[in-house]
């Protein structure tokens, strides 16, 4: 088991290295010069050449890549061209916002999707099933950014119930804006502050979580359907347990396994979907940081952020594999 784990970890390293190379090449080769973009429009050609030299852009690309690799090995993601601050710090400031958004979306997806799926799967072809399935398909087919725009239009613009962008209100956040705003305030019992944060996160979380919700609903439903016909369920029924106990205690536990798998597999989609939702809602997370970094060709910030997303993605897949390994006795006890 341990050997398997180690083997898997070692196997991911070349993948990450290759990815870093691919991203590096793509971004550096893209048209658009950071010096042109980040200096004033009145900057002289001498100033621009100066900036290029300072940022190491006048060196051949393989040398730049070597610098990049050696820095990464030392845990340094470089200095942002635009903000003149370490990339790690900049990402660290924005990452909690993205993580909170992802968690909120997941919560919405699971809290709505699972019960709906169980309900539908337990009564196949009933009106409950049809209703639930409609929900599920709608969820999967809805473009998240369009949903976001419509939510802003109706809930913010027309009804004025919720703020249309940002993450917190000045004066309320008191220095927590770049951290885990909601979690922190909930944990410290500060309900008023937490509520402020929740007001801002609801719409983006709905926009981002709806797709996942549809998927969770569909998978839960088919999983429940399959299990309901299994022998042990029949046994439980024969033992005299009532339907809802059967459903919630026996079926659900086993039905959730493929759900967890699928959620894990789709977490990557959630991560990349958050990029565009952050743009729609001006959510100060790493996704909107990435988009503005791309627009200003801030190379270190771009590569740093993409690398962070990719490593997160790889790590998530890795954890899923581990979970699989734990479940599958063949791997667990060695070949």
């Amino acid at each position: 088991m341990l050997r398997y784990l180690l083997g898997r970890i070692i196997a991911t390293i070349p993948v990450v290295v290759l990815i870093s190379l691919l991203v590096f090449l793509l971004i550096h080769a893209a048209p658009g010069d950071p010096a042109d973009l980040l200096l004033s429009e009145e900057a002289s050609p001498a100033d621009i050449a100066d900036a290029r030299r300072r940022w190491g852009l006048d060196q051949p690309i393989y040398i730049q890549y070597l610098h990049f690799l050696t820095n990464i090995a030392a845990g340094d993601l470089g200095m942002s061209f635009r903000y003149a601050d370490p990339v790690i710090g900049l990402i660290g400031q924005r990452l909690p916002a993205t993580i909170e958004l992802a968690i909120a979306s997941l919560l919405i997806a699971i809290i709505i999707g699972v019960p709906l799926g169980v309900w539908a799967g337990a009564k196949p072809n009933s009106w409950a099933d049809n209703l639930g399935s409609v929900f599920g398909f709608f969820g999967i087919s809805m473009p998240s950014f369009w949903l976001g725009i419509m939510l802003i239009l109706i809930i913010s613009g027309y009804f004025n119930w919720l703020p249309s962008s940002g993450r917190s209100t000045y004066g309320v956040a008191q220095g927590l804006e770049t951290g885990f705003y909601i979690s922190h305030s909930l944990l410290s019992g500060n309900i008023k502050v937490a509520w402020d944060g929740i007001k801002y996160i609801i719409m983006p979380a709905i926009a981002l979580g709806t797709g996942m919700m549809g998927l969770v609903m569909r998978v839960t439903r088919s999983s429940v359907l399959e299990i309901m016909s299994e022998d042990y369920v029949r046994t439980a029924r024969a033992k005299g347990l009532d339907e809802s106990t059967v459903l919630w205690r026996h079926v659900l536990r086993n039905a959730l396994v493929p759900v967890i798998t699928v959620v894990g597999l789709e977490l990557g989609t959630l991560l990349s979907g958050s990029i565009i939702v952050e743009t729609v809602f001006a959510w100060p997370g790493s996704g909107s940081l990435l988009i503005s970094a791309i627009q200003s060709r801030d190379y270190p910030l771009i590569t740093g952020t993409v690398l962070t997303y990719t490593i997160a993605f790889v790590a998530i897949n890795f954890v899923i594999d581990i979970l699989y390994a734990l479940i599958d006795p063949r791997i667990r006890f060695g070949k």
């Binding site: 070349p14 793509l26 971004i27 999967i140 087919s141 473009p143 725009i149 802003i152 088919s222 990029i275």
Partner: protein, 306 residues
């Protein structure tokens, strides 16, 4: 083969009705509401796309500056769904947008399908170092969070229809590759391959004759879901400003343009979004139904959606 002429009449009658029963049984799953609804929507998309030139009330690029930002006018309207910021008719642009979305989606599916299946078949069939290399490529490309690779490629290549298609294909070929590889791997060990080789059949022939046909159901299912996600991804890229040049009307770029005017001219963003939504819904319904019919095994792997 039994000759119906030589059998007693009641047996023949029983045979005929069981044949029609079988026929009806074969057709029935296709008539399930899911598949039917999905197929109808997709059919409408195809018809609108093909006939855009004839059914569109206006030229999608004709501007009329003094009629800019007119709201939809159902009853007497010259512009049923309103006009945009330079006075172009929204309805006509939606029709032409259907055509573009269709073209993009179909091209992406075909190209990624071909690339994926070929690579997967080669990978599984030849195994060894070929398999290793191709699978490493799969791993690297797969490890990219989905939209990021497309964004990076579009930033690198710039605007353009071909560039967009390339960016959309860049990750989608992997699903086909996996399925094809699985087929090829299982095939490798079968005896008839050795038999065929000893008879002088070359690799290409074997791959084509034995692997491809089995892939068909999975490929169709993957293809339909892949079409849906291609349409959404194109819209997302256009939304971020990384799509096709402005003279090609796409639903995604209409959505992006309309976002600026969301509070004053809501129709600009609503209708393209609705089109994307319903199209994707139809394709997803169709794909799900097809999967139920053709390949129930794919149900649990989660590879179908997204």
């Amino acid at each position: 083969m039994e000759n119906s002429a030589t059998l007693p009449a009641n047996v023949v009658g029983a045979q005929r009705s069981s044949r029609t029963r079988r026929l009806r049984g074969a057709i029935r799953p296709w008539l399930a509401p899911k598949v039917a609804a999905g197929a109808v929507i997709v059919l409408i998309l195809i018809i609108v796309g093909l006939l855009a030139h004839w059914i569109a009330p206006y030229d999608p690029n004709v501007q009329n500056l003094s009629h800019a930002l007119r709201p939809p006018d159902w009853l007497f309207g010259s512009h049923l769904l309103g006009t945009d910021a330079v006075g172009r008719d929204i309805l006509s642009r939606l029709f032409y947008g259907a055509r573009v979305s269709l073209v993009i989606a179909v091209m992406v599916v075909i190209i990624s399908g071909v690339v994926g299946i070929v690579l997967g078949a080669i990978s599984g069939y030849f195994a060894g170092s070929t398999d290793f290399l191709i699978q490493k490529l799969v791993e690297v490309v797969w490890a990219f969070p989905p939209l990021l690779l497309a964004i990076a490629i579009m930033a690198f290549l710039g605007q353009g229809l071909e560039n967009l298609i390339l960016a959309l294909v860049s990750q989608r070929w992997i699903a086909y590759c996996r399925v094809a590889r699985g087929q090829a791997l299982s095939l490798r060990t079968r005896e008839f391959v050795d038999a065929a080789r000893s008879l002088g059949a070359n690799h290409t022939r074997i791959i084509l004759r034995h692997i491809m046909p089995n892939l068909f159901p999975s490929a169709v299912v993957i293809g339909t879901f892949s079409m849906a996600s291609a349409i959404i991804s194109e819209a997302a890229l256009s939304f971020l400003g990384l799509g096709v040049p402005p003279e090609i009307p796409t639903w995604g770029s209409m959505l992006a343009d309309g976002r600026t005017y969301i509070s004053t001219s809501w129709w600009l963003a609503l209708f393209p979004g609705l089109c994307i939504f319903f199209t994707v819904l139809g394709i997803n319904l169709l794909g799900d139904g097809l999967r139920d019919i053709l390949d129930p095994r794919l149900k649990r792997s989660g590879s179908g959606i997204g």
